[in-house]
């Protein structure tokens, strides 16, 4: 039996999926379910179902763009297959030339939560001013109030990571980072090395 090919389905869920595709194309940053539901004037649960449809349509190997769940929302990106061609046309200015100092500062802010320049200097043992200025300029961190109970003026400015940071590092959210307690190797070994140095030192 011959079936008529129907390019555009009139199924309401399908129509919602197409609306979501349109919203994600015009958005400049990831949109979460609540934002998509508000714009499409739809129930969030139906939006999630429709997002699964979109996700199936736009995936590696099937389309040139991919729907990804990143930085607490949904966004389109180019497929990895097309990365080389994209690289010939575009630079990646945000992450280009991120120094070791910048990565350590980013890690401190991502793991320790909003922190000020003096706190960052304390962790790394080097003043953080120029590194923080560079990260601010790249948009990877942003100001997050001041130190003190009520955020009154006078306390040091604190910094947090931005959704762009999560997007650049491909994180759905900060909770996807490994636990800090699981890093740093054997603490006992470090202590015993310190102890050995102390014992060699003349009293």
């Amino acid at each position: 039996m011959e079936r008529t090919l129907r390019l555009i389905s009139s199924n309401p869920l399908d129509r919602l999926a197409r609306t979501l595709e349109a919203l994600l194309v015009v958005a400049s940053q990831p949109l979460d379910v609540a934002e998509l539901a508000a714009a499409a004037q739809e129930d969030p649960e139906r939006v999630e179902t429709a997002l699964r449809l979109v996700s199936d349509r736009f995936r590696e190997g099937r389309s040139g763009i991919v729907l990804e769940q990143v930085a607490g929302g949904y966004a389109f990106r180019a497929t990895r297959e097309a990365a080389e061609a994209c690289g010939r046309l575009f630079e990646r200015p945000v992450e280009r030339g991120l120094s070791q100092a910048a990565l350590e500062t980013l890690a401190s802010i991502a793991y320790l939560g909003p922190c000020s320049r003096p706190e960052l200097a304390r962790v790394r043992g080097v003043a953080a001013d120029s590194v923080v200025a560079g990260l601010l300029e790249r948009g990877l961190i942003a100001e997050a109030g001041r130190n003190g109970d009520s955020g009154v003026a006078g306390g040091a400015v604190r910094y947090r990571t931005t959704p762009l940071f999560e997007r650049v590092f491909g994180l759905g959210s900060l909770s996807e980072l490994p636990r800090l307690d699981d890093l740093g190797g054997d603490a006992a070994e470090l202590r015993s090395r310190l102890q050995a140095i102390a014992e060699r030192r003349p009293a």
Binding site: S28, F76, L106, G170, L194
Partner: protein, 255 residues
């Protein structure tokens, strides 16, 4: 090897070591900005290049670099200096171990971020401003264009002319009124002050009053007023000098 001439190329400074120390001592360079580990590496490389162990240079370098480290530590932990000084040796070692552990974890987290960045190198997505900005919520109350038009019209109207009359205020001489009142008193023994002033400007009335006070002071007239703000009656003084006698010449300006 001359330690003081050790060439450095740091983020915060480029030049010989002795210039760096001079700048730090003159407080023109924050010790906190100086990466001491880089200086140690530069010295070790310089030492390796000479292919002999220069103990004098090593000793001098140790003294200089430890002084720099102390300055830097004081700069970084100024508020903690007292707190740390009170720690016993074991507690201080524990505190040091705790900080080193924390830094080691952060270093490892930074390495993970670097790995992740490398793994995500082939992910391209749109950055920067989108062709469409999100629609902002409009929170203003409903506005009436007619009201705005009225407000603008009132701003566009020609302002009223400001009077500059007070800048041209001229005071007549007091003597003019002295003569005038003496002339009246030659004709009549008394007169009503307000009646005499009718039709005069406020400035002329003020000068006339000064003339009245002057005549009273000279004993030429007597004044009567039933109560405050009641009409002032001016009468020739009993036994006064003949009207027309010269009074002391003065003007409203000198009063």
């Amino acid at each position: 090897m001359i330690v003081r001439e050790l060439e450095l190329d740091l983020d915060a400074f480029e030049g010989p070591l002795d210039l760096l120390l001079t700048l730090v001592l003159k407080e023109e360079l924050e010790p906190a900005e100086v990466d001491v580990a880089e200086i140690v590496i530069a010295f070790a490389l310089g030492l390796a290049a000479t292919e002999r162990l220069d103990l004098d240079a090593c000793g001098e370098f140790l003294v200089l670099v430890s002084a720099l480290l102390e300055l830097k530590a004081r700069g970084l932990f100024a508020d903690e200096a007292a707190e740390l000084a009170e720690l016993g040796a074991d507690e201080a070692a524990e505190e040091l171990a705790r900080r080193l552990e924390e830094y080691r974890r952060i270093k490892e987290a930074a390495a993970l971020l670097a790995e992740r960045l490398e793994a995500e190198r082939d992910r391209y997505f749109r950055l920067g401003p989108a062709p469409l900005q999100p629609r902002p919520d409009r929170r203003t109350s409903p506005q009436d264009p007619a009201l705005l038009a009225r407000a603008l019209r009132s701003l566009a109207a020609e302002p009223p002319q400001v009077s500059l009359a007070h800048m041209e205020l001229r005071f007549p001489p007091v003597t003019q009124f002295l003569e005038r009142f003496r002339a009246v008193l030659r004709r009549r023994s008394r007169f009503d002050f307000e009646g005499e002033l009718r039709g005069l400007s406020r400035a002329e009335q003020a000068v006339a009053f000064l003339a009245l006070l002057d005549l009273r002071k000279a004993g030429e007239i007597e004044l009567e007023q039933a109560r405050a703000f009641a009409p002032i009656l001016v009468a020739r003084a009993v036994g006064a000098a003949a009207p027309g006698a010269k009074g002391k010449a003065w003007s409203a300006r000198s009063a």
